[in-house]
Symmetry: C2
Subunit: 214 residues, 2 copies
């Protein structure tokens, strides 16, 4: 019982910090996206393809969350956008406080859209608000069509599901209809996009949707 109480306290404390972050984002007029997925679903590839488009209309900044190292941040920095690396040092998700601590290292007055690439994990990141406007989750088709029912919280809390790697559909068993129907059963408000970050297919639909949200 003690253990459960501690977890609840951590989540309460996190929500208080997320609300503080939210206030700052509102003051600075920054739209914040929390991007989540399993390891290797394609979050960084997605940013490498979409940020050049977003940059045509908005000033973009990125917080990269990784357990250790700066590989993804190095990739993103090639796009000439401000990027800060959070190394969680073992922790399996980004929480509100990690974002709060990273913000002073970003030029907030020069950012319209801040994208937080979370640690690759289909479970824990879903539990932690960071003060974001949108939670966007990616599911790669190679992970299988059973993921919505097996990891429901992630699908429940997200505003959009981006189904990635559709270029691989001819080579795998993935029932698109089942994946989409199961996800919508968990969250009927989920916006769904089928994309290939390799070929670029479907990304413009997502970008148009995002522009409406901003």
């Amino acid at each position: 019982m003690t253990q459960i109480k501690v977890v609840k306290n951590i989540l309460d404390a996190n929500n208080r910090i997320a609300i503080e972050n939210r206030k700052l984002f509102d003051e600075k007029n920054i739209f914040v996206i929390n991007l989540m997925s399993s390891p290797g679903a394609g979050k960084t590839s997605f940013l490498m393809k979409t940020i050049p488009e977003l940059k045509k209309k908005y000033k973009v900044g990125v917080i990269e969350g990784d357990i250790q190292n700066t590989y993804d941040a190095e990739q993103i920095s090639k796009l000439n956008v401000p990027v800060v690396q959070i190394n969680t040092g073992g922790a399996c998700h980004i929480d509100g406080n990690m974002v709060k601590e990273a913000l002073p290292d970003l030029p907030l007055d020069e950012i319209d859209i801040l994208i937080v690439e979370n640690v690759g994990n289909l479970v824990c990141p879903a539990e932690f608000n960071i003060g974001e406007d949108l939670k966007i989750m990616m599911l790669s088709v190679t992970e299988g069509d059973d993921k919505p029912l097996k990891y429901p919280l992630m699908f429940h809390v997200s505003n959009a599901m981006i189904i990635n790697k559709i270029d691989l559909l001819p080579y795998i068993d993935f029932n698109m209809e089942k994946a989409i129907n199961d996800a919508l059963k968990i969250n009927q408000k989920l916006s769904i996009f089928k994309v290939s970050c390799k070929t670029g297919e479907g990304l413009s639909d997502f970008i148009n949707w995002l522009y409406e949200k901003i």
Copy 2:
């Protein structure tokens, strides 16, 4: 600081329970495998292919770990082996106590090899011992060759890395040499197997290795 202390206490308590599990496994002469990976790397498909082989020499039992539902356990039960489902109810890993609680529901006197399929997560399961003989992790090639350096603990604690979905190599960018070299830098004792659970390629090498370990 309080938060860190709590986590340490949880891990200490877990290790005590893992040692208790270990004693029971020794008494019953059961060889225990903790099977871990990202969501959708192919753990259940791997068991569906390997258990029929293992059954020729050993009596096999399975503990299925999932956040909720029993889909994978239903699959495994088709192999006519005893299987128990642990539903973690949101938790992102299997710990020693969950295994302890599941054991009374298994016919331990009739099991030589117990396989625990962990929750799909490349981070947290690596932190929790369950009293196992071997930790085996799967990496699917579709997750990318950067995973060892980005999620090092999982590679560090595992005895074997099974690289799955090699049938998809012609269609993706995956540098096998880099993935293997990076994994060996983290853990030079790691045994490595390249397999396709779809075609069955490479599985016999793994099974022969496992027989030597048992």
